[in-house]
């Protein structure tokens, strides 16, 4: 880890200016309203969020665009594109020193980009599977004839009270070579199967963890829907599949969008699940970021990766927002 | 208005026996003017109604008096004292809000006792006063009810009781009957008027319902686009509207474009009519306002003008007929019916023809 952790003087100055500006704003609001105005109740929170959210994000940005000496650089992003960037740079420099072009000897390290693509692909698969599994479940529970619907929804939430690490580890006991599934197969006289330490196991773990986040918003959207609409559709000649396809599904889009957001976002950044169920054979972007910070101690590249991650999520969110402009999809809250 | 003029007017207002004075009040919301100079005084025990279409600034005026908004310019005096800087909880004024604004987490008793508890009165006194109020608004025995379980009319009564129990000098009412059905609204109008007379409290009442204003008020203030159009008692406002807008807003009227031929003679619908107005100059364009009940239907041969009956509607007390005459369609109220398509003569006595300076946009009943 870096020993030098001091910020340049201008960073401190900027923070000082920010604080003074905040105090001034509070002061002006008090003056203008000749006393306490309710909007001032938000000021402790504002201050808190500036210190614990805005400043930390700025710190990440600061690291992403500086080198180990604090000088401005874009090398960290080049490092994302080419994980051998630093090594290659020294190889080329060594070549230059002896007056030769070594560029034939260097190769681009693709691990960072590959990991990102792999994470996106896994998150995409996880989202699709959750949607395919979760939509029918939500639909069945939201059916008015299903009297137990609300109770069943609670059954989807309860598993989340069990520590998610432990739940994931519990899958190990089911999937491992000497685990319950293999024991059962062997007892039936079959060959044992390798279930763990591959992408499928990781995907299973992700679907398992994020499925409730898909079911819940869709259920909320469906149960808020006016059931007379589907009656009207039936009255106008739709059979039950047409009603589902032409009326129910389009109306539940806010719920679907919200569900996709709530599953896709944490899936991309999953870390821990690949470690347990993938056994280190698979690495996702979250693991990569963590490794950069805690194992390699390379904050600059780690910050650049985090920034890329945030950017990606912001872009996908704004695309999703287009599909649900009013943000009607009910979340967990 | 310059500060000198303002202080002069404040000094003048202090010499009068007014309860509330609004002097040159203006109000802007984010640069959009809502009130453009309101001058109004209110006397003790007066029932004043601010009347106008939505967006005319009547509610804003009320909220400035209540202390929920501050005027951009102008002065607000209460018994001669400037109270602009006084927060609502220090004003001797109480408000009945549009949708009642009862506290949903409190029952009827606690809603009414809210203000009294703040005054730290002994419990026995509070109990007594709440009981009296419940009696006044005909809700005896409802003290422990939950407010959300009450009907609209009952909630309205609780809201009134909650304000009156504090014995305010002035009660502000913001469209208090707007959410009630017609029959209940009529009952409550009478009850409110009775209450006001019995308690001797000043009422400032906001409504867009002209009938309500005419029934209840001592003084009506007609507003439009943030300005006062006319102030007067119901009769004078109805009989002598200051302009075509007031005429149209208060009661039904025929508003026509006409020409003042000379003093006391006006020309419209292709004929000259004697009238009682003068001073507009010769051949000046004017607006002519005639109430539908002021047009008399006579024989074809004796009418000042002749028209054809286009439609007849029975309205309970009278018939409403649309009559084509000249280039206008007149709306006429009459207790006797004439068959559709028949020709009739129309007569208007000079006293019932109201002449006004023309407005740019005349809201008329021409179709």
């Amino acid at each position: 880890m870096r020993s030098d952790m001091s910020l340049p003087w201008w960073a401190w100055a900027a923070m000082g200016v920010g604080l003074v500006a905040f105090a001034a704003m509070v002061g002006v609001t008090i003056r203008r309203n000749r006393g306490i105005h309710r909007s001032l109740f938000a000021s402790p929170y504002t201050l808190w969020m500036i210190i614990f959210t805005v400043v930390p994000v700025i710190l990440i940005g600061y690291y992403a665009f500086t080198d180990a000496n604090g000088a401005f650089t874009l090398d960290n992003f080049k490092n994302f594109w080419d994980s051998n960037f630093n090594a290659n740079k020294s190889i080329l420099a060594a070549g230059e020193a002896v007056g030769q072009d070594y560029s034939a000897y260097i190769t681009r390290g693709t691990v960072n980009v590959d990991t990102l693509v792999y994470s996106l692909w896994m998150a995409f698969l996880c989202t699709v599977i959750c949607l395919l599994l979760g939509y029918p479940a939500a639909l069945i529970m939201a059916d008015r004839k299903m009297k137990l619907g609300p109770t069943l929804v609670v059954l989807f939430i309860i598993p989340m009270w069990m520590n998610f690490l432990l739940r994931t580890i519990a899958w190990m006991s089911l999937l491992e070579d000497s685990g319950l599934i293999n024991t059962f197969l062997k007892w039936l006289g079959f060959e044992g199967v390798q279930l763990m330490y591959n992408s499928e196991a990781v995907l299973l773990g992700m679907v398992y963890n994020f499925l409730p986040f898909m079911v819940f918003p869709i259920y909320t959207a469906l149960s808020k829907m006016d059931f007379r609409l589907s009656e009207a559709a039936a009255d106008l000649g739709c059979n039950s599949w047409q009603t589902l396809y032409k009326v129910t599904m389009p109306l539940s889009i806010p719920g679907i969008v919200s569900g996709i957001t709530m599953v896709f976002m944490p899936s991309v950044t999953t870390f821990f699940i690949p470690r347990v169920l993938g056994g280190g054979n698979t690495m996702m972007f979250g693991d990569l970021i963590e490794a950069k910070f805690l194992t390699e101690g390379n904050w600059n590249v780690g910050s650049a990766l985090s920034l890329i991650m945030m950017l990606l999520i912001l872009v996908s969110l704004s695309i999703l927002r287009k599909a649900d402009p009013n943000g009607e999809g009910g979340g967990i809250a | 208005m310059t500060p000198e003029q303002l202080s002069e007017r404040i000094a003048l207002a202090r010499t009068k026996d007014h309860l509330i004075d609004l002097i040159g009040i203006t109000k802007e919301f984010d640069g959009t003017p809502v009130l453009r100079g309101i001058d109004l005084y209110i006397r003790k025990k007066e029932f004043v109604t601010l009347l106008g279409p939505s967006g005319c600034g009547k509610t804003t005026t009320l909220r400035i008096i209540g202390g929920f908004e501050t005027a951009t310019e102008g002065a607000l005096l209460f018994e001669g004292q400037d109270i602009a800087a006084l927060p609502p909880y220090k004003r001797r004024v109480n408000t009945v809000f549009q949708k009642y604004a009862l506290f949903p987490h409190l029952n009827v008793y606690d809603n009414i006792a809210f203000g009294l508890k703040l005054k730290k009165l002994p419990k026995k006194v509070i109990d007594e006063k709440v009981e009296q109020m419940l009696e006044l608004v005909n809700l005896k025995g409802y003290a422990r009810r939950h407010v959300e379980a009450l009907s609209g009319g009952q909630q309205q009564r609780v809201a009134i009781a909650r304000s009156l129990v504090n014995e305010p000098e002035v009660l502000l009412l913001d469209e208090p009957l707007g959410a009630l059905d017609l029959k209940l609204r009529k009952e409550m109008q009478l009850e409110l008027k009775n209450m006001q007379q019995r308690l001797g409290i000043t009422f400032i009442y906001v409504t867009h319902d002209q009938e309500e204003a005419l029934t209840m008020s001592d003084t009506i203030v007609v507003m439009k686009d943030g300005t006062i159009q006319q102030i007067g008692d119901p009769k004078s406002i109805y009989d002598e509207p200051a302009n075509a807008f007031v005429a149209d807003f208060i009661g039904e009227s025929n508003i026509l474009r006409g020409t003042m031929v000379q003093d006391e003679l006006v020309r419209f619908a292709g004929a000259n009519f004697p009238c009682v107005d003068f001073g507009f100059g010769e051949n000046a364009p004017v607006d002519v306002v005639i109430r539908p009940e002021d047009i008399m239907l006579v024989g074809e041969d004796v009418g000042q003008i002749v028209g054809t009956i286009k439609s007849v509607l029975f309205k309970g007390v009278h018939y409403e007929m649309m009559i084509d005459a000249g280039e206008y369609t007149f709306k006429v109220h009459s207790t006797t019916m004439q068959p559709q398509g028949s020709k009739v003569g129309l007569n208007i006595v000079p006293f019932n023809i109201h002449i006004m300076k023309p407005m740019e946009e005349v809201a008329s009943n021409e179709i």
């Binding site: 929170y45 210190i51 614990f52 598993p159 009270w161 520590n163 499925l211 409730p212 | 506290f103």
Partner: protein, 255 residues
């Protein structure tokens, strides 16, 4: 037929969700330490749980942080929601962006950014930093559960209170807060459970010396989970279930 199919489908999905939990609970009663082999029923791990200092310490850290973070974030968030609600359009939009920011940020980035902050300001990571981090990610959720209640509220009730002689403070505590009580309770419960379950952010904001249950499980995941941790989570799970049943019974009686 269709109905039967539907029920079967739901049952299968629920089995998928509950299998690991059942496995976990069964394991906690296993006499042996093996994950797969059943060596007879025993309460051994439950007894060991109460003798294992490290686990108990982690339990204490988890619960105390969850409670403290819940209290602070509920107060902070409720006040903030009231403030944001009273704001004009533009500052309100700004505040909502700020509030939604932590939700849109991946946990790992939130955790790392806070870690950077603490390293920078030379605050030693441990109990306090973890608490600060938990308050930070809890508060927006409180705001998001209180704000809808404020929006539903008749905005004139606040003015009515002032009109009847209440000072703004009195009106806040006796009129506004009672009316959004439900949202505040939901927000507090949400904050508590989020904090209880958090791993990623805690992982980056604490030191190995101060561990909550999640980080403890994580650090021992490689060498095999101590079955007493299974026993502990089984106990917590049952406790939460009982709590839910009581709350449900209560609300059913209220109706």
């Amino acid at each position: 037929m269709m109905k039967w199919l539907k029920k079967c489908y739901l049952a299968l999905v629920l089995i998928f969700l509950y299998v690991p939990i059942i496995v976990l609970i069964v394991q906690s009663f296993n006499a042996g330490k093996s994950r797969a082999k059943w060596e007879g029923f025993s309460l051994r791990w439950y007894i060991e749980l109460f003798q294992d200092e490290r686990t108990l310490q982690a339990l204490f850290v988890t619960l105390s942080i969850a409670v403290l973070a819940m209290i602070v974030s509920t107060v902070l968030g409720t006040l903030a929601a009231i403030g944001i609600h009273a704001m004009k359009k533009r500052p309100q939009a700004l505040m909502m962006t700020l509030t939604n920011l932590p939700n849109t940020m991946p946990d790992i980035v939130t955790g790392i950014s806070l870690m950077l902050l603490f390293i920078f300001t030379k605050v030693e990571r441990g109990y306090v930093t973890m608490l600060l981090a938990h308050i930070t990610f809890d508060t927006p959720y409180v705001i998001l559960s209180v704000l809808p209640k404020l929006k539903q509220m008749n905005r004139h009730t606040y003015e009515a209170a002032l009109d009847l002689g209440a000072t703004p403070m009195y009106a806040l505590f006796h009129v506004i807060i009672p009316q959004c009580k439900q949202g505040i309770i939901t927000g507090a419960m949400l904050a508590f459970t989020l904090s209880l379950d958090d791993f990623t952010i805690s992982y980056f904001t604490t030191s190995p010396l101060v561990q909550n249950l999640s980080t403890l499980i994580y650090s021992s995941a490689r060498k095999g989970i101590d079955p007493s941790l299974n026993a502990l989570s089984a106990l917590m799970f049952v406790a939460l279930l009982v709590l839910l049943l009581i709350v449900n019974r209560r609300t059913a009686e209220d109706k």
